[in-house]
């Protein structure tokens, strides 16, 4: 890959990769792993969308369809989105952004990658030997009592991978608290760090509750008796309380890091200091904390008490506020900025629009009376895909493009990058906007068959999915191409602020030859005074 000055990629042996404790290599190991799980989950989605072309939905057996959406959910949530920005970009960039040589516990970092993949292998094994059809939400009593299949195996996979998540969060929290360079006070930190710190709080505090909940299902299946069993006076809804206590904050794990990327990209490509730094920083913490108190909005129709539902509904409205604050601040940053349309910035624009739509539709769902009609319909499916794909995946792509030169020492081809961003945006909207309409018109989710009058929406959605697939495939191809043929990148191709740009691309193993000392405020951009970043070379 590089035959120039010694850098973290110089040593080539397999052993040096599999036993690495270098946070940069661990980030790349995670990238390769999540791509594999993403590919499997994408194939599941493709099969689902092909099945849904016809109202009879008989491309696959009904039980197979259920196994496909279960697989898609389990892999995308736990084995793609949750690790994506934190374990790939976070691992790579956090120590560099704070001027450190590595994270606080490098060996635990490597352990987290192994736990992640042992868990992933368990899940894939469960699929190979017959699959699970409970949905990624494993609701009781179906998962504990009636489901056939390999529920325990799949659950154990998620359980083990969860410990990987916890270790990553633990590492980031201690690293950010204790290993900042001299002069790097909390309010001089890049907002990416604030976002990942908030994410890490959730990883550490929420995941253990998921772990014990999954363990309880496994115990109930194996022992034949348990706390969720209504025959004994147990409560299946108790499962939902415990599951969503984790899984709602989990969705903030799946957006906060993306918001962090946007907070880096927008100032850089508008050459302007971010507007309202403190507001953006505190809003990240607010989302993480308040996000723990809203989980009951997933349970409005579960027989949960109406009074509890009202409390959860109000809190769900409140949690939207810090997200909106971020959107206003990003927009205000753009105002009178000197804007350039490089690939990372295109993804950032896409993020702002699509996340806003996703977030607003969340408010509809947070209103109890409306949710009664929309719960378990395609409206919900569209809502969360707008945030997770339109938001998180787009920001992951943006971040990957932004830091690619730093990670690999190569530039990706800019024109291809912009085209892929556009293709992704168009494909995404064509896939998921019809689903809002489908849900509003009453089509339930997780159904393989539907009334014929809905077919046109499904056909549009499947067409969109093919285009979206192309949008994903293009970067895969040109990123690989760039490793050998891409233009060599300088230390700071975007003329960005931040410590990670003060070191060569790719960086040396210990990141910095000397510990940096920070004296300036972050995002020291000047739209009038700065020259624009040099036009990247076109492939």
């Amino acid at each position: 890959m590089n035959n120039e000055p010694e850098n973290y990629l110089s040593e080539h042996s397999v052993r040096s990769w599999l036993l690495t404790t270098d946070h940069k290599r661990i980030g790349i190991l995670y990238l390769l792993s999540i791509l594999v799980y993403f590919a499997v989950a994408a194939v599941a989605a493709a099969l689902m969308r092909l099945t849904l072309l016809n109202p009879t939905g008989d491309l696959v057996l009904p039980e197979t369809y259920n196994k496909l959406f279960t697989l898609h959910g389990v892999l995308m949530v736990w084995f793609f989105l949750i690790p994506s920005i934190p374990a790939v970009l976070g691992n790579f960039v956090i120590p560099m952004m704070i001027g450190a040589r590595d994270v606080a516990f490098p060996k635990l970092n490597l352990l987290s990658w192994y736990l992640f993949n042992i868990g992933g292998l368990c899940v894939l094994y469960a699929v190979v030997v017959g699959g699970v059809d409970t949905g990624w939400t494993f609701y009781t009593p179906y998962s504990t009592t009636y489901a056939n299949g390999h529920v325990v195996t799949m659950i154990m996979g998620v359980f083990i991978a969860g410990f990987g998540s916890i270790l990553t969060g633990l590492n980031f929290i201690v690293t950010i608290h204790k290993m900042r360079a001299p002069g790097l006070t909390w309010f001089r930190l890049p907002l990416f760090i604030w976002s990942l710190y908030s994410t890490s709080l959730i990883l550490v505090l929420a995941t253990p509750v998921l772990a014990i909940t999954l363990l309880a299902i496994a115990v109930e299946r194996l022992w034949g008796v348990g706390i969720f069993d209504p025959n004994l006076g147990g409560d299946p809804v108790l499962f939902q309380h415990m599951f969503w206590f984790y899984s709602h904050p989990a969705v903030y794990i799946m957006i906060l890091p993306g918001m962090g990327v946007i907070s880096e990209v927008i100032p850089c490509f508008s050459r302007k200091r971010i507007f309202g730094y403190h507001f953006v920083a505190f809003s990240s913490i607010a989302i993480a904390v308040v996000g723990f108190s809203v989980w009951g909005h997933h349970m409005f129709v579960s027989s949960q008490s109406v009074y509890a539902a009202m409390v959860f509904s109000v809190l769900s409205f409140i949690v939207a506020v810090p997200s909106a604050i971020k959107v206003f601040n990003w927009t205000a940053t753009l105002y009178k900025g000197s804007i350039s349309y490089d690939t990372p910035m295109l993804y950032a624009f896409g993020f702002i629009g699509l996340f806003t739509i996703g977030g607003l539709t969340g408010l509809f769902l947070a209103s109890i009376a409306v949710d009664v009609h929309l719960h378990d319909t395609y409206f919900v499916v569209a809502h969360f895909h707008y945030i997770m794909v339109g938001g998180m995946v787009l920001s992951f792509m943006g971040g990957l493009h932004y830091w690619w030169p730093k990670i690999t020492g190569r530039m990706y081809p800019e024109i291809m990058g912009r085209i892929a961003a556009l293709v992704t945006f168009i494909g995404f909207n064509l896939t998921f906007f019809p689903q809002f309409l489908l849900g509003y018109l009453g089509q339930p989710r997780r159904y393989h068959a539907y009334p014929p009058e809905f077919q046109v929406f499904h056909v549009l959605s499947t067409a969109g999915a093919s285009i979206l697939g192309i949008g994903y495939l293009m970067p895969l191809l040109y990123f690989v191409w760039s490793l050998k043929y891409g233009q060599r990148a300088p230390a700071n191709p975007w003329k960005a602020t931040g410590l990670e740009w003060q070191t060569p691309s790719p960086p040396p193993s210990e990141n910095f030859h000397e510990t940096p000392i920070v004296t300036e405020e972050p995002y020291d951009y000047h739209p009038e005074a700065d020259e624009l970043p040099p036009e990247p070379q076109h492939a």
């Binding site: 120590p95 450190a100 040589r101 590595d102 994270v103 606080a104 516990f105 490098p106 916890i166 633990l170 929290i173 201690v174 690293t175 608290h177 204790k178 290993m179 550490v204 505090l205 929420a206 995941t207 253990p208 509750v209 772990a211 014990i212 909940t213 309880a216 115990v219 022992w223 034949g224 008796v225 348990g226 706390i227 025959n231 004994l232 006076g233 147990g234 409560d235 108790l238 309380h241 415990m242 210990e510 510990t515």
Partner: protein, 214 residues
């Protein structure tokens, strides 16, 4: 005798930074454990709130004669653990190892008592589904209580076992002189884990054995 003070790991700037990081790291891990056990406490809270009489009746089938002494054993073990860490801070190798061995013995004692207790529970037919017989109403609710009892104490016992294993490793390191006054964090953070395991039991004892009044 002991080796010279070990320099700090390469990612840190100083030994003090490493000590601070180790401490914060262990406390973060303990917070995850609070929530891990906490999930089961949530289940318990639901059960006790919903079926107070059944839970109280079921609780009275547990023996304070097992639970009380076991609590005392763990409190003693926390005392000896604190003394072990203190010995490490003072560089007293033999005292360190001695107090660690005492802590290990207390831990093993706890597990032995627990073993006898589980046997008694089995004999008295209090094991859900496998060997459960309940006189009186609310058999299902009583069975829920015992499910919680076995899962909570079982999970706790697993943590005690892991703790005994860790303490054995630390005792060996201590014996070999690898734990010194300048470099005693291994003992300190293992101690944090052990004290946490004690605290969990401090709550489990009244929640499981002392519901209502006897």
């Amino acid at each position: 005798m002991p080796e010279p003070a070990i320099a700090h790991a390469h990612q840190f700037e100083s030994a003090e930074q490493q000590r601070d990081a180790d401490t914060l790291g262990m406390w973060t891990f303990l917070a995850t454990e609070v929530l891990f056990f906490g999930g089961l406490i949530m289940c318990y809270t639901f059960g006790r709130f919903s079926y107070p009489q059944a839970f109280e009746a079921a609780s009275h089938h547990l023996y304070v004669g097992y639970g009380g002494p076991n609590t005392a054993i763990l409190l003693c073990s926390s005392f000896t653990m604190a003394l072990a860490v203190r010995s490490a801070q003072l560089g007293r190798r033999k005292a360190l190892v001695g107090f660690l061995i005492a802590t290990i013995l207390f831990g093993l004692g706890f597990l032995v008592v627990k073993g006898f207790e589980y046997h008694t529970d089995y004999v008295e037919q209090l094991v859900p589904r496998w060997r459960f017989h309940w006189e009186g109403a609310d058999a299902g609710h009583a069975e829920l209580f015992f499910w919680l009892y076995f899962v909570l104490t079982g999970l706790h016992a697993i943590h005690v076992t892991i703790g005994v294993g860790l303490l054995t490793v630390v005792a060996i390191l201590g014996w070999r002189g690898r734990i010194t006054a300048e470099n005693h964090m291994t003992a300190e953070i293992t101690g944090l884990y052990w004290h946490f395991v004690d605290i969990v039991w401090v709550f489990l004892f009244p929640l499981l054995y002392l519901i209502g009044h006897r």
